[in-house]
Amino acid sequence: MSTNVTIHHGEEINNSTGVSHKKLLMWTFLGSDVMFFGTFIATFMAYRNKSLNGPYPEDTLNIPITSVSTFVLLMSSLGIVLALHYLKEAKMGLAKFWLLLVIIMGIIFIGFQIYEFSHFAHMGMTPQVNLFGSTFFTLTSLHGAHVSLGILWLIFLLINEHRGNLNSGNAIDLEIAGLYWHFVDIVWIVIFALLYLITANDGVPPGSIPWIGGH
């Protein structure tokens, strides 16, 4: 198979496919992660309104707080795309600023999730208490793990950028991390709609025991 050397978006591509293999690998991974999250979201929806005992979504979910954390994560997507834009233009100060801001926003999001989880646990909602708890915690924790991994990745890139090892010449490394970060954002867009906004009004299913636990 012949090898081609092409220049695409300022990046030299030296392989048989003519596209960046790093990017190809990331898109393939994201494709597999779509199916991964799809199964967990499908499981949550299949078990929706099937808990035999409380607490139920209307007793626990706090939409205003989750809306704020959703907004923070959405804006972090803007931050990473700006960081990449400025890195490609070799505006290192701005690139570092936006990358740092994305990391901070990611940490804020995780902070909100930790607060939410501890609040739920305090109310008596744990992964083992009912189907809603099991499916909810499994899905949101997996997403949180993805965000945490993304934060570590971005910190690593920020250190490299600070040391001068990440620059406009190898901006593809930040682009790959950016793709991953945007992906956790779009997964949260779906989770926020399905797990929170659509489910939040679900009360006691027919034949189930009303929850008498306290707020």
């Binding site: 199916m35 979201i41 299949a46 959405l74 009004n201």
Partner: protein, 145 residues
């Protein structure tokens, strides 16, 4: 049909249809959210953008603003009891819209090589198919609860 053609039909460059160079695959004519409008009107936003045929910071801010506004509408809709009967379709439409905006413009899928779109969309189709079949099975046969 176009997606099926992309996936399954031979259109040159050997059976896997990978272009020999990236230059062979043309970029979209207007590479930003309001491309056609901008081209025609020579709007001031075009000047503020990068001016290199790719989306500049101003477009990213516009997309972020749209995402923020959609999220606010979602939360507002959720709070209105009279609109609850339309909650599920509305939330699905809003989330699909946000999803598409992030994937197309923040992840540059609209500007990037077609191969990436093909991979991602194929996985999306498989994922949605699984999702639908699983929900249908659970609706008609139950899941042992």
């Amino acid at each position: 049909m176009s997606l099926l053609k992309d996936l399954f039909f031979y259109q040159g460059n050997k059976w896997w249809k990978i272009p020999e160079t990236t230059e062979l695959s043309k970029n979209p004519k207007n590479e930003h959210p309001f491309g056609g409008f901008m081209e025609k009107s020579k709007n001031i936003l075009l000047i503020l953008s990068s001016g290199k045929g790719h989306a500049g910071p101003i477009y990213y801010w516009i997309i972020a603003a749209i995402l923020g506004i959609i999220t606010m509408i979602e939360v507002w809709w959720f709070g209105i009891k009279e609109l609850r009967y339309m909650l599920v379709p509305a939330m699905l439409i809003f989330s699909i819209l946000k999803f598409a905006l992030v994937v197309a413009f923040f992840m540059h899928l609209r500007f990037d090589h077609k191969m990436f779109s093909t991979i991602f969309i194929t996985c999306m189709v498989v994922g949605i198919l699984f999702f639908s079949v699983f929900l249908l099975l659970s609706a008609f046969h139950g899941l042992g609860t």
